[in-house]
């Protein structure tokens, strides 16, 4: 097998705040192969965006990468000088942000911005760059591309702006595209267009994609492999079908059952993950998920489990593993979060 395009090794990114050190990314390692689509999922604050920002060396103050290596084609991004990093960004890798309006310049025409993205990196001559703008916009399905290239971002709809961002990201033919929640703010029908576009990119251009999202359905749609993050670490990783069929970490398992689905006939009660996300300044001892875990054993409170192979290419970080949890134990013990007593009381009080 060819060497991976990207190798992240024991990456740690921390924020130095008055409250203490925020362990945003806490020792993660993973690879991305050429032409592969990898999904990173996990709840808000689990470190997905900071992982991406670390890869691009865009970690904002008061944060910084404190240790680890990020090898892009064997070059360590962490050690690059500023010039090399600028070359690397937007030339070898491109990022699509959640909110396209913040990353498009409101006072510059869309076509001009794409042109500038290309000429800044000198991969294409001025003339070549000029000639590429309209085909790029057509590739991302902007209708009447020639006319629309003359528009300003505010004249585009939300979906069109997102597509323009993608066109800009693609302009230098990067080998790696990082998409951070690319469809969250969009309507379903526009979402569908963006998904199609990313699929097509991956297939036709062969670009590797890291897709960051909290939407499991999106991962199922686009990715070959999935990385599940919790509290700045990877808690499970594996081929997408395997993870969906038999997730081993209780967090992955719960995540898959906490969203209603349109493709399942019976509506069951949703599995809710009790409690709150962890405080990354004061992480609990043992398994970081244990305060919220319904399947924990005593050891989980003391010792942090390692990432362990559970199936070919699938690893999980858990002392229990879902395959060892009996069916009856999986069902939620408490049907409601509203206690019956309290409800009756309320009814009585209310009628008074």
């Amino acid at each position: 097998m060819a060497a991976p395009l990207l190798r992240v090794e024991d990456l740690r990114t921390q924020f130095f705040t008055s409250r203490g050190i925020v362990h945003a990314v806490d020792g993660i390692s993973f690879n991305v192969n050429r032409g592969e689509t990898v999904g990173i999922v996990g709840e808000s604050g689990s470190g997905k965006t900071m992982t991406a920002f670390s890869i691009l060396r865009l970690v904002p103050d008061p944060g910084r990468i404190v240790s680890g290596r990020i090898l892009f084609k064997d070059q360590d991004v962490v050690q690059m000088n500023d010039d090399d990093v600028r070359e690397f960004r937007g030339n070898d890798v491109a990022m699509i942000f959640q909110d396209p309006m913040t990353s498009l310049n409101p006072v510059t025409k869309v076509g001009t911005q794409i042109d500038e993205a290309m000429t800044a990196h000198e991969r294409f001559s001025k003339k070549e760059a000029q000639a590429r703008i309209i085909p790029l916009l057509q590739q991302v399905r902007i209708p009447e591309a020639a006319r629309r290239a003359q528009d300003y971002p505010h004249q585009f709809s939300g979906g069109m702006r997102q597509r323009a961002m993608i066109a800009m990201g693609l302009s230098n033919e990067p080998e790696l595209l990082i998409a951070d929640e690319p469809t969250t703010a969009l309507d379903v029908t526009v979402q569908a267009q963006i998904i199609q576009l990313l699929k097509q990119l991956n297939r036709d251009v062969g670009a590797a994609i890291i897709l960051i999202t909290h939407n499991m359905a999106l991962v199922a749609s686009l990715c070959q492999r999935i990385i599940v993050m919790y509290a700045g670490r990877i808690v499970e990783e594996g081929p997408v079908e395997q993870i969906f069929d038999s997730p081993q970490h209780p967090y992955t398992w719960s995540l898959l059952r906490s969203v209603p689905r349109v493709d399942v006939a019976r509506a069951e009660r949703l599995v809710s993950i009790k409690g709150l996300p962890p405080d990354l300044v004061r992480l609990p001892p043992g398994c970081k998920f244990h305060p919220r875990c319904r399947f924990k054993i005593e050891k989980c409170e003391r010792e942090e489990p390692p990432l362990e192979e559970v199936a070919p290419n699938q690893v999980a970080r858990c002392w229990v593993m879902m395959r060892n949890v009996a069916q009856e134990q999986r069902e939620e013990t408490k049907a409601g979060e509203v206690s019956r007593e309290a409800a009756t009381e309320l009814k009585q009080a209310g009628s008074g």
């Binding site: 939300g158 379903v188 029908t189 359905a217 991962v219 749609s221 809710s272 009628s351």
Partner: protein, 351 residues
Amino acid sequence: MKVAEAPPSTERRVDPVILRVDNVYKHFPVGGLGGGAVRAVDGVSFEIRRGETLGLVGESGSGKSTLGRVITALHPASGGHVFFEGKDVTKLRGGKLRQIRRQLQIIFQDPFASLDPRMTVGEIIAEPLDNYGLARGRQRQLRIQELLRVVGLNPNFTNRYPHEFSGGQRQRIGIAKALALNPSLIVCDEPVSALDVSIQAQIINLLQDLQREFNLTYLFIAHDLAVVRHISNRIAVMYLGKIVEIADRLDIYDRPQHPYTSALLSSIPVPDPRREANREPIPLKGEIPSPVNPPSGCRFHTRCPIARVPGVCSEIEPPLVAHGRPGQVAACHFAGELSARSATEAGLPSA
């Protein structure tokens, strides 16, 4: 404990109609000389029965929130009637309107923006009680604590401020406030959209529990069709200020009659890699048109994959009439034409 099951699709609810929306309009004048208006809600009619959840879906800007605000009397209607328990909300003024508003509550999308940061949780929850002079002193305090408990929050939180809570907790505070006056109908306007997935399930389960306990009626607005399908008995689909289809929750996914519904459903990715490999979304042309100048005839004709244009679709507005299963209505000259195709292409099981 047994998992809760949704009522089977064949069950026709017999509960009395609690809300009847009759040809409601809401237009917002646009500034300037043209004298035009944003036709946010443009002739909408439907009914909700007591204890039922009607889901409302549609693209951004289709008029869902505006409709929710007209129903809860937060916006005056520009035309039409809203009958709540037989009384026309749009005709009531003063004391009578205040009395009916007690029954009609709304939960907003953004748990961060909708709570006053300078008020304590207790003050926020008791605000409706105070407005109606319903509870004082110890009674009031007890009621606040009960409401907190009902939504799964610690009753000792009374003196804390909203910023001390997470998004999910704040949404619970908003729900407690909406429950304070014992409403019969609650408009839930995207109540979980701003929350993390792990928290969404908590709130959805809570809303379902409360509905059972208090026989609440919900109009549940959301853009996430999976969430809507999970919680609703019936689902209404809005497009550019109009309802284009209403059907039982299972029928609408099984046999959508309107091509917009079909397109919307085929667009949703499902959390199943094998199904995803075969799902083919029905593409919609172009962008959503402006609600100031909606297209002639059927207002979906500019994007419809089966429109006859020029022809009946661009000339005659299709009425919302019975198509498909009992109780299902759709506004399309060629209703049902896309449904068989979409059902198989989307890989949706016949539920």
